[in-house]
Subunit: 127 residues, 2 copies
């Protein structure tokens, strides 16, 4: 299958509340993860929610890297979207497992922009 | 299944080159899509690539909305990540179909943060 992008959805459970609610530490960790994967950082935007939770997005030359945390559930969702199939997202993944101190973690990767659809010429889905 | 977030991955094929390479129009369309879905916009970051292509991320109170375009392939990838299951992403989807003038489009939605995993207590995936 010829695809233009790879979207890696990572799930980190059983992380300490304090880590998932610390904007500055999360921004540093996510930037380190971006660098570990050899992504080229363009801009980093992080936001602290009240009473808890952090959202952060790093726009990279290869697409984007995002994190959303639910400290009250010990859960963080991370996604890596890249147009560079050689980007080393596994290095970023294990760096995140370590820094988020996650005890239960997983990921799945989804190909985006499957060019076999481009000539289908009708709507693939309406609902 | 109890999930904390919903991640909707949208694919838009057969879009005109000019539309997918127009940063200002795409930023307007994506902000309109965010409003149509009733998301609360926090920050919008868009970037033009050379020789073509646009990446844009809107950080919203409900998580994030992102677009990456490949004008040379007539393709745009959009994702809506929301922690509000009532967010009306379908309104945003049809607004995007219309504004991007896509002739072949589809989406899939993926639940994120499945709390049934939180007590598994072991690593779910290593590869």
């Amino acid at each position: 299958m010829e695809a233009l992008g790879l979207h890696v959805l990572m799930e980190f459970h059983k992380c300490p509340f304090e880590i998932l609610n610390n904007l500055k530490a999360l921004e540093l960790t996510m930037n380190d993860a971006a660098k570990a994967s050899k992504a080229t950082i363009i801009k980093s935007v992080f936001h602290q929610f009240s009473p808890q939770g952090v959202t952060g997005v790093i726009v990279v030359a290869e697409s984007h890297i995002a994190i959303h945390t639910w400290p009250e559930h010990g859960y963080a969702a991370v996604d890596f979207f890249t147009c560079n199939m050689d980007m080393d997202y596994k290095k970023a993944y294990y760096l995140l497992v370590h820094n988020l101190k996650s005890k239960v973690y997983t990921y799945r990767s989804i190909k985006r922009g499957n060019l076999q659809y481009k000539d289908v010429g009708y709507e693939l889905s309406k609902n």
